[in-house]
């Protein structure tokens, strides 16, 4: 009998995944430190600086929270869509659409914050929904692959933002480039520069987790994602569920755009989505389909982003940062795969192998 030292399990226990991810992150940090040392940087000094400007100081923590806020929402948008087995690659575009719609309200209407802010919120959500509406209907009624349609609309949304911020909506007051003027209303701040959008985003993620696990709608979504044929067998209106999930997903990404405009940037800027939509996909993959896991996954992603910015101030180029991000995610993917394996006990050669 061929002796194999390891056995692959169909499902990996969550504890093992967590442990191996931590190992993966530590290993990649050592690799990064090694490469940076070879390149003449002092890893220790850099590490100190990074820790101080992220977790180690109040200013760093505030920054982290600001990064996390959009990542929570775009990560949740991709995760929710993934529950029914679909990929929303267009959170970036829906983010812009939400930001544009919210800015439109702020620039066009004048009134008390209490009136304008809710209107901006609704506009942001509707903007995101509108941006995913065509891919949604194409998917539900014609079976058009949503990955392509949502992805392509990203470029249109991004270019539309550039057009607006250099054209009709350009800043005529301070003359800032590729930007609208500062909008007059903003989401109130709760802690330093952290606005109330951050706790709201956390609550939304928790609410979504409850919706998926504790409502009839959530159950139907899960069945529809796991086996559409079984869903039809049980009489679940799969098409309607696809529409509702995709619109919700677009709405979440749109809300992320509105939060960014009204809470953090206070204006519409070209390129302001900052890849938050695409990083939402990474967050969702790290979260492995669970809404609650989106919170730690968004934290990790925010940490990586923030560290990257710190390193850029130390004359490391943006491509190095990207390579580092890639390395960490790559090592985590290896860790996830390894979590499926367990050593086969030597005594179990002839007997039980469980």
């Amino acid at each position: 009998m061929a002796t194999r030292a390891f056995q692959r399990l169909p499902t990996a226990p969550a504890g093992r995944i967590l442990t191996l991810r931590l190992v993966a992150i530590i290993v990649s940090l050592f690799i990064i430190a090694g490469v940076l040392a070879l390149a003449g940087h002092s890893p220790l000094m850099l590490a100190q600086l990074i820790v101080h400007s992220t977790l180690g100081s109040r200013f760093g923590l505030e920054d982290l929270a600001l990064f996390m806020c959009p990542l929570l929402l775009t990560g949740a948008a991709v995760t929710v869509c993934g529950t029914i087995g679909l990929w929303n690659i267009g959170a970036e575009g829906q983010f812009y659409a939400g930001a544009i719609a919210a800015t439109g309200v702020a620039l066009g209407l004048h009134g008390p914050t209490l009136v304008i802010l809710p209107l901006m919120t609704i506009a942001g959500i509707l903007g995101g929904m509108a941006w995913i509406a065509v891919p949604t209907l194409a998917r539900a009624y014609a079976g058009v692959n949503e990955i392509i349609t949502t992805l392509l609309l990203n470029f249109i949304a991004s270019l539309l933002t550039y057009y607006l911020t250099t054209g009709p909506w350009r800043d005529r007051i301070s003359g800032a480039q590729v930007s609208t003027q500062r909008i007059s209303v903003s989401i109130p701040e709760m802690w330093g520069i952290v606005h109330w959008g951050f706790p709201v985003a956390i609550l939304i993620v928790i609410g979504l987790a409850l919706m998926l696990s504790r409502t009839r709608w959530g159950y139907e979504i899960r069945i529809g994602g796991a086996n559409p044929e079984a869903a039809r067998y049980a009489g679940i209106p799969v098409r309607l569920r696809i529409i509702s999930v995709m619109l919700l997903s677009g709405g979440l990404a749109g809300l992320a755009g509105m939060f960014e405009v009204a809470g953090t940037v206070h204006r519409l800027q070209g390129g302001m989505a900052n890849n938050f939509g695409y990083l939402g996909i990474v967050v969702a993959v790290l979260a492995r389909g669970s809404c609650l896991n989106v919170i730690p996954a968004a934290l990790l992603m925010a940490l990586i982003l923030d560290s990257g910015i710190v390193m850029q101030t130390q004359q490391l180029s943006a491509s190095v940062i990207l390579a580092i991000t890639g390395l960490i995610l790559f090592m985590i993917a290896i860790g996830d795969e390894l979590a499926h394996y367990r050593p086969v006990a030597k005594v179990a050669a002839g007997g039980k192998t469980s």
């Binding site: 499902t11 504790r214 159950y219 067998y233 049980a234 009489g235």
Partner: protein, 528 residues
């Protein structure tokens, strides 16, 4: 070893192209083939007939080296052979055309013919390969366009490429698995012409099929497999479809009467629960898969549906459970017409459904056992209230179902695919029986189960009958059908042939109906 006797018209001493002796192929828990002997002579078309799962494809996979047999020998032209791979088999002259084509769609016909062929020229320009392909195509009489891409070809043309691939490698024995399943009637006739031409050159063909008319038309001899064993080999000229059908589904039937009701069981109701009135279904290709079916389902009665697989059983099941819309006709539930097909509506009206392919259509393999057990009752309290989903109530339900099904489950949160096929089947059956307060439609519920589990499953059906539920029991096993059913209907070409009383039904009559013949001297005792 008994020497095969040469068929008439063949020089004595000519060995068969292929001889199988005592072939057995075992899979964990399943005997796919056992004690199979088969002789295939040069110049014959030999049909291999049997129900789904009778072991036809497994046997041919053994012959072509895809599987290694556990017992028995393969003898080619009188010499024992063993094939480690399909490449070995084709070198020895045995080629197989699978039901699902194994062509590279983005390549041209000529490229596909030359792919993995050791006689292909080392440096071959498209022009050279196309010329070679044209020559091969003319030599064997299968017209193809050498420069066409495979993805642009019809199913019939792709099949010709597959056949040429095999013939170009000098196959003398061509094995075809359900070759006509994807063909139009004209393409089928073309294929048959070509196969006859191939036979005329002294080659042999084995054709796997469960279409009786085609077997009658094309084959010289026919071997019938049942439950992995060969039942017999017959000269086709001496056969008729009814006899083939009856042999295919079983001859040595042990009749046990499970129709006797215990004390206090519900009698057969006088008014039907569900009625089909002239229901027809036409599929996307425009083929009538269900034709003018009328049927009454009475509480407290088991209606058996017999027939060769693929004669409309699937469509009947789906129409009865609201999964498929009818093209014409009427469905009445408790006398009231049902407006449109809606599985949820049928389920809440008390119609349970054990589908044919349980894992694919009745379970979500990656979700937990609990989630899967809630599939039929999540809308109703205690699980569903005010649009919520009560996970605790769902696990209570899952525990209840598992206990009734006598399935031992260590962890209800684990994905249902981690359970064995038999246990999945038991859980689905129990889940459906729970909601089947009026009707249970069970499609092949015993397929893939061992004998003990089959008895349990049939017991479930009779228990439901005794509670006054109308049971529709679709099966290919005549023994099971005759033992539990009160009435038996036979499906043929989408039509429901006569429905007869199971009590006095004889196999010959059912066989005749399965072959599409309405016995003229049918007893008037037939219901309806």
């Amino acid at each position: 070893m008994n020497k095969p006797t040469n068929p008439p018209g063949m020089a004595p001493g000519t060995p068969p192209i292929l001889q199988l002796r005592g072939i057995a192929k075992l899979f964990p828990g399943v005997v796919a083939n056992k004690d199979v002997d088969l002789d295939v002579w040069p110049g014959e078309i030999h049909a291999l007939l049997g129900e789904n799962g009778a072991g036809k494809s497994t046997l041919m996979n053994v012959v072509t080296g895809i599987y290694q047999p556990e017992e028995g020998e393969i003898i080619l032209d009188g010499y024992g052979q063993s094939f480690a791979s399909p490449q070995d088999a084709i070198r020895a002259g045995i080629g197989m055309v699978h039901q699902h084509f194994k062509l590279v769609e983005a390549f041209t016909v000529a490229e596909n013919i030359h792919l993995g062929w050791d006689e292909a020229p080392r440096i071959a320009s498209p022009a050279v390969m196309e010329a070679r392909t044209r020559e091969i195509s003319e030599r064997f009489g299968f017209p193809v366009r050498p420069d066409a891409r495979v993805c642009d070809l019809s199913a019939g043309e792709q099949q010709r490429v597959e056949i040429l691939r095999v013939l170009a490698r000098k196959a003398r024995l061509l094995i075809m698995d359900e070759p006509t399943a994807v063909l139009t009637p004209e393409e089928t006739q073309e294929l048959f012409r070509a196969l006859r031409a191939f036979r005329a050159q002294g080659n042999a063909v084995i054709i796997i099929s469960h279409k009786l008319d085609e077997v009658m038309e094309i084959s010289d001899r026919v071997s019938i497999l049942r439950r992995g064993r060969k039942v017999g080999t017959f000269n086709t000229a001496e056969c008729n479809p009814s006899m083939l059908a009856a042999t295919m589904v079983g001859r040595d039937i042990v009749r046990r009467n499970m129709r006797a009701r215990p004390e206090g069981a519900a009698p057969i109701a006088t008014t039907p629960i569900m009625q089909l009135r002239n229901v027809s279904v036409c599929d996307d290709r425009g083929v009538d898969t269900l034709r003018d079916v009328s049927l009454d389902l009475y509480g407290g009665e088991i209606l058996g549906i017999a027939g060769v697989a693929g004669n409309g059983q699937r469509e009947l099941t789906h129409v009865l459970t609201g999964l498929m819309a009818r093209t014409s006709g009427e469905i009445l539930l408790d006398g009231k017409p049902v407006a449109h097909a809606d599985p949820a509506l049928f389920a809440s009206a008390g119609v349970g459904h054990i589908p044919e392919d349980r894992l694919r259509s009745a379970l979500a393999p990656s979700l937990s056992i609990t989630s899967n057990m809630a599939l039929r009752e999540y809308v109703h309290p205690p699980i569903g209230r005010h649009g919520l989903y009560d996970a605790a109530a769902a696990s209570a339900l899952a525990g209840e179902i598992a206990e009734l099904a006598q399935v031992n489950i260590p962890d209800f949160a684990m994905p249902v695919r981690n359970l064995s096929g038999g246990n999945q089947q038991r859980l689905v059956a129990r889940r459906e029986i729970r909601i089947a307060s009026r009707v249970l439609v069970a499609a092949y519920p015993a397929r893939g189960l061992d004998i003990g589990a089959i008895a349990t499953m049939l017991g479930y059906l009779t228990d439901l009958r005794d509670q006054g539920v109308a049971v529709v029991f679709i099966s290919e096993d005549l023994e099971d059908l005759l033992n539990v059913s009160d009435r038996i209907g036979v499906m043929f070409h989408g039509r429901l042939m006569s429905v007869i009383e199971a009590e006095g039904a004889d196999i010959a009559t059912i066989g005749m109906l399965m072959g599409g013949r309405e016995p003229t001297d049918m007893q008037p005792g037939a219901a309806q």
